[in-house]
């Protein structure tokens, strides 16, 4: 009787283990590979979009990997994290990798182009996908990140403020020296800003360069547009990065002309207005593409998408105090999306 009991328990246990193993082995695996880390608001909001799309797919095994290269932009660190991510991928063997932003493509997913078992969905790519070998690749699709420059132009034209100068409105782009800023700058140069006038952009590697650029353009422009400033070093000989909030605080305190961001984090860092690409859209569209791939659609049958949504971020109370007014629709949109900060 005791032996029979033991046999039945063993069968039950073995059966349970078999079911668990079988279920796990057949669970579709999605790796969300971020170039940056969770202290970066953009990354957090891309994750919100991914989760929104995957919330009814609880049978997917989803893992997150953060390369954290925004805080540590040095080449050797990016290579090290790239290697670590690749080891993690080789161990876990995901079905789909959602790779967000350029470093994830450059240091990780380009090594999996035309991989027989792993498919890649890119997101947050500011430039083209040619450098990563994605053009014509049978296992890659994704969504490009493009600044919504028409929306930005409209907002700048609609912004009312005490402008000292006369003549056509002038804009200048100031950013750091990262590759994503380089890509954004390329698109901004190609964009038709008319009736506005776009001045040559300024890129700064150090905080002193940044300060110099901001001060020098004061009498030459009507708006400063900033894309990113997270890779500004404290000094030429230092690897320490200046905290973003410090860059923004200094810029607002020393600029007479309005400073407008192209990412929501500009307002989170203390800025007053940003017309930004929607990180939620990037995450959500990429995750929906991943679902399609898992459900059997071929990557080559899913065309590359591009940004279609923009989000307004503002600190309306501060804008009013500085005598700047936007049409009420902008403020209502920011408030409705919880992006009107105090």
């Amino acid at each position: 009787m005791n032996r029979l009991r033991l046999i039945l328990i063993s069968l039950f246990l073995a059966g349970s283990v078999l079911v668990i193993v079988a279920y796990n082995l057949h669970k579709p695996r999605v790796l969300v590979l971020h170039s940056y880390d969770l202290t970066y608001p953009w990354t957090r909001e891309v994750d919100v979009g991914v989760r929104r799309a995957l919330e009814d797919r609880s049978h997917f095994a989803v893992r997150w990997f953060y390369m954290d290269t925004k805080r540590h932009p040095w080449k050797e660190f990016r290579q090290k994290m790239g290697l670590s991510a690749r080891q993690s991928i080789d161990r876990w063997k995901p079905d789909v990798i959602i790779a967000v932003d350029d470093d994830a493509q450059e240091f990780v997913t380009r090594h999996y182009v035309n991989h027989p078992d792993i498919r890649v969905v890119f997101a947050g790519v500011n430039g083209g996908v040619e450098p990563y070998g994605y053009v014509g690749a049978g296992n890659v699709t994704g969504i490009l990140e493009r600044k919504d420059l028409p929306a930005l132009k409209q907002a700048l034209l609609a912004l009312q403020w005490q402008r000292p100068a006369t003549g056509p409105l002038r804009v200048v782009h100031i950013g750091d020296t990262s590759s994503s800023v380089e890509h954004d700058d390329h698109h901004m140069r190609e964009f038709d800003w008319r009736p506005l006038v776009s001045l040559p952009s300024r890129k700064s590697g150090t905080f002193d360069d940044w300060k110099k650029a901001v001060l020098e353009v004061q009498d030459k422009t009507d708006f400063i547009i900033t894309t990113n400033y997270r890779k500004i070093r404290r000094g030429a000989a230092s690897n320490a990065l200046v905290p973003p909030a410090e860059v923004v605080a200094w810029t607002l305190a020393n600029s007479r002309v309005p400073v407008v961001g192209t990412n929501g984090f500009f307002v989170e860092d203390g800025g007053e207005l940003a017309i930004g690409t929607s990180p939620f859209e990037q995450g959500e569209v990429a995750a929906r593409m991943a679902i399609k791939l898992i459900e059997g659609q071929a990557a080559r049958d899913i065309p590359h998408a591009s940004t279609r949504q923009f989000v307004v971020y503002m600190r309306s109370a501060r804008l009013h105090r500085r005598g700047m007014e936007l049409p009420p629709l902008y403020e209502a949109f920011a408030r409705a999306t919880n992006n009107d900060l105090p």
Binding site: F12, L13, N24, R63, Y66, R71, F77, N239
Partner: protein, 623 residues
């Protein structure tokens, strides 16, 4: 209770008895209905030696004297007689008589035995009292304990109570100070309040004011009661991989020890190894190493290994405190502790460091990967230990172990029992499962939980053992620490700390060897006052997030803290050495000075091994 005692003479008498007063008042209250009073006339005998022992007697008024057979008459100690009724003796061993008459409180035997069944201390003291009466009123141990240890214990108690007062004062002042300073540090109100709670928690750990899991419970309770962070964040430790892995490994370790498998392994090793001093030492050493991944407590391993050390001394007929005996002591102790940072499952605090890693890093440093990452340090630790011990204990006289005795011990254990097979099965499944994770896609924490489930299902781990042998307070401690760290991250305090310590981050990234030296100095100073676990937890909580924020692998920093946190110079700094002292009858078997000198040398070896591991970590891409 004192008020009641004044009103009721029976209660007053029970509480006046130095032994019965040790019992719980609830149990004493249950005993009360069975009591009765008895009068003795002058010169009347209460009982004679050989009479049935039916009750314990307490004098309410009058006198009572006791006469052991062939011994001198003595007054009933503490006004109590008839202790035989509390023991297995059916009859009285002494005679009792009142000279001037007495009023006695009678505690009948049956309810008394039921009352004492749950009161081990009063029962033992009553037995000692009976022995003392039979010995003529005094025991040799009375004098020793009164003279020698009395003064020392009083001194120790006084020092401890001063420490406790300072500790509680600091616990009150630290949060107040943080709350005052919080606005100057530009902290949001909720972050400031959390930091105040955190500071009180740390002070409680540092001063060892309460059991180590209690400050964690305090932090969880106050943080949640004040709503400072969301519940899922603060309680994330309870759902963490580290918690489940630790609980399951502790369950497996319970079966390994309780089944006798660990003891059998040790005997087998001693039987099979060559019969020379080197191999005797290696036997003890490697048994310790073998137990290291299986028994997740250095104290547990010391308790398992020390009896073998004593047996080996006797079997080899080694002179106490001789160089050979010293070396065996070192081998036993080092075997239990040297590789404790090398395996994830070898020390409970390793799970704390594991729990402090991010999800992706936990995935990267699961059991086998942890071992791989630490194997460079393990090799360096072993190499330096063998060289140092070879030089320190050179030219030992030859001695031989009695193999027949070990074989006899083994044969007495008989064949492998079912529970031992279950333990073997559990270990093998776990090891194989971890090594083949990529094939079956089950992560080690779930694998360990499945094994624990199997052990429970088959009854290899009983409900009583699951309840009593698993260190639940430690698991609460672990969950508390993981929750605290999650809350620190959630409130952005770790980022703030990293921003406030830019120089430290720069040193970590720019010159890791210099950071190791700084860390060793900090640990040396902190360890003078703070216990091992608290030191490791506090430093890991502070330094691992700083490492992450500055692009340095947090596992490497955590591992270095684990290795260097075990450094100690004075016996009071190391709980498992104090245990080793106790198990070797206060170092009766070895020369403590020589042992401590080698330990000091070992601290240097640990630091050297960390440095020697740096190229390995670089090669693995961690640095």
């Amino acid at each position: 209770m004192n008020l009641l005692a004044a009103k009721d003479p029976w209660v007053a008498r029970l509480l006046a008895d130095p032994i019965l007063a040790l019992a719980s008042y609830t149990e004493l209250a249950r005993l009360l209905p069975y009591l009765e009073e008895r009068q003795l006339a002058p010169g009347e005998a209460l009982y004679r030696a050989g009479d049935r022992a039916q009750a314990l007697y307490l004098i309410l008024a009058g006198d009572l004297s006791l006469t052991p057979p062939g011994g001198a008459t003595q007054a009933a100690p503490d006004g109590r007689a008839g202790e035989e009724a509390c023991s297995e003796f059916d009859t009285h061993l002494t005679s009792a008589r009142s000279v001037n008459g007495a009023t006695l409180l009678v505690l009948p035997r049956a309810p008394l035995l039921s009352f004492l069944s749950a009161q081990p201390l009063p029962r033992a003291n009553l037995m000692q009292s009976l022995t003392r009466i039979l010995a003529g009123g005094h025991l040799a141990s009375d004098a020793a304990s009164n003279a020698g240890s009395g003064m020392a214990a009083a001194k120790k108690r006084k020092a401890a109570s001063i420490g406790i007062v300072i500790g509680w004062l600091a616990t009150l002042l630290a949060p107040a100070l943080v709350l005052i300073m919080a606005p100057q540090w530009n902290l949001a109100p909720h972050a400031g309040h959390f930091l105040a709670i955190f500071s009180a928690t740390i002070v409680m750990w540092v001063f060892n004011l309460v059991d180590e899991y209690i400050p964690g419970v305090f932090a969880v309770l106050t943080t949640l009661a004040m709503g400072l962070v969301p519940i899922p964040v603060m309680l994330s430790g309870l759902a963490s991989d580290g918690f489940l892995l630790a609980m399951s490994v502790l369950g497996l370790a319970t079966v390994i020890v309780a089944s006798g498998l660990s003891y059998r392994l040790l005997l087998l090793l001693l039987l099979k190894l060559p019969n020379t001093p080197f191999w005797h030492n290696s036997g003890l050493l490697f048994t310790g190493f073998l137990l290291t991944p299986l028994v997740p407590s250095i104290n547990g391993r010391v308790a398992l290994l020390t009896p073998f050390y004593r047996d080996m001394l006797e079997t080899l007929r080694l002179e106490f405190k001789s160089p050979s005996a010293n070396r065996l002591a070192v081998s036993t102790f080092v075997g239990a502790g040297l590789l404790s940072a090398v395996f994830l499952s070898s020390k409970s605090v390793n799970f704390v460091v594991f729990g402090l890693l991010s999800d992706q890093a936990q995935d990267q440093f699961q059991w086998l990967e942890w071992l791989k990452a630490s194997s460079g340090a393990a090799a360096a630790l072993l190499l330096t230990y063998f060289i140092a011990s070879g030089v320190y204990f050179r030219k030992l006289p030859k001695a031989a172990l009695s193999k027949p005795q070990v074989a006899a011990q083994l044969s007495l254990l008989g064949r492998m029992k079912d529970r031992e097979w279950a333990a073997v099965g559990g270990v093998v499944l776990f090891m194989m499962g971890v090594a083949t994770t990529s094939l079956h896609a089950i992560q080690p924490p779930w694998l360990a939980l499945a094994i624990l489930y199997g052990l429970l299902l088959f009854g290899s781990l009983t409900k009583a053992e699951f309840r009593e042998k698993i260190d639940w307070p430690f698991l609460l401690y672990l969950a508390g620490i993981v929750g605290l760290t999650a809350a620190l991250n959630h409130l952005g305090l770790t980022r703030l700390l990293a921003d406030r310590l830019p120089a430290l981050g720069e040193i970590m990234r720019g010159s890791f060897p210099l950071f190791v030296l700084l860390l060793a100095t900090v640990i040396f100073v902190v360890r003078l006052a703070v216990p091992i676990s608290a030191t490791i937890v506090i430093l890991a909580t502070l330094f691992m997030p700083v490492a992450e924020a500055h692009g340095v692998n947090p596992w490497v920093v955590g591992f270095v803290i684990l290795v260097l946190g075990e450094m100690w110079f004075f016996p009071y700094q190391c709980s498992y050495y104090l245990q080793f002292q106790q198990l070797t009858r206060n170092c009766e078997f070895y020369d403590e000075k020589s042992f401590l000198r080698f330990n000091w040398l070992s601290n240097g070896l640990k630091l050297a091994s960390v440095y020697a591991s740096i190229p390995w970590w670089k090669a693995m891409g961690f640095l």
